[in-house]
Subunit: 160 residues, 2 copies
DNA sequence: CTTAATAGTTAACAAGGGTTAACTATATCA
DNA sequence: TGATATAGTTAACCCTTGTTAACTATTAAG
């Protein structure tokens, strides 16, 4: 078996295992907080960007501006988002996360990474160092694959 | 910095990169085929189990039996599922994937793993062997973490 | 044989979340 | 200044997909 095949299989297997662990935790959390995919998507986008206008949320999620407006509405009512006027262009409403919103999203990230601690504990000191080197190599390579897409919109956008 | 911290960071980073690539492809595919999370969830469960009764689909996805029945209905109409009577207990309707259904799900898995080939190509032969070893180590460790959950139900179950 | 339990369907209904159309407020251009 | 474009909201509507309740068919138990 050629090395490329060996590597390929190993990576595929790893991806499989990873899916079970990481996405399971994340989705469980998503269900717990009782938010839809679109709602989480909107919150994550805003988390990444700091703030943005209503229309751009719609564009990025692939929904119409009215839909985005209603979406923001609900999240404002849940005290996860705040709307405020843009001082430079008063047509624009700038949307930002509340403290509660920020905490919620950070919780989600933490949920996703929780099992990592468990995994870490199973390795000896030396193993950890070696594995870290491998991981860094792969991260670097992946980063140079070009077209580094944003996770969020694709993951949580509207399905047509 | 202790080795555990180094490893932890490297793994977290890798998970992050991985999410972008693998889940993006999978979700893009999901959007393309125009199926809901629940529908994909049902198809994947049946794919894994070969066949199962309607009620158990409901249980596993966390929805009521009527909801499961309707869900199956729609998927049968799309020619992704088949319903047939269980010969041993004629109350039971056994649900199986059609050829089209099987192909669809396999396509989804392939979409998820597509970028892996690109990544493989960026490494030399020796690198690939070394990295494969690291990956296998981690897979093994992850598999022994206990409570090896099924991917599908959590990922695609009903949110309450 | 009658009664109770189980698998599934059907019907009526509700909520979430999308759409288009019509409107308001602000900004820009000629 | 007046006409037009842009950001956002509101309203009316519709589809998907969940729910509960009522029903049928089959099996199991006394």
């Amino acid at each position: 078996m050629p090395n490329s095949k060996i590597f390929n299989q190993a990576l595929t297997e790893w991806v499989h295992v990873f899916m079970r662990r990481s996405m399971q935790a994340f989705t469980r959390w998503m269900n717990e907080v009782g938010l839809s995919r679109t709602q989480i998507g909107a919150l994550m986008r805003i988390y990444n960007q700091g703030h943005c206008p209503v229309t751009s949320i719609g564009n990025e999620l692939g929904i119409t501006t009215p839909a985005a407006s209603q979406l923001v509405d609900r999240l404002v009512q849940m005290d996860l988002l705040e709307r405020s006027e843009d001082l430079e262009d008063r047509r624009v409403k700038v949307v930002t996360l509340t403290e509660a919103g920020k905490e919620l999203i950070q919780e989600g990230f933490m949920a996703k990474n929780e099992w990592i601690n468990d995994l870490t504990a199973t390795f000896s000191d030396d193993e950890q160092l070696a594995l870290a080197a491998s991981l860094n190599t792969m991260v670097e390579a992946a980063n140079q694959l070009g077209e580094d897409p944003e996770l969020i919109p694709e993951l949580f956008g509207h399905r047509m």
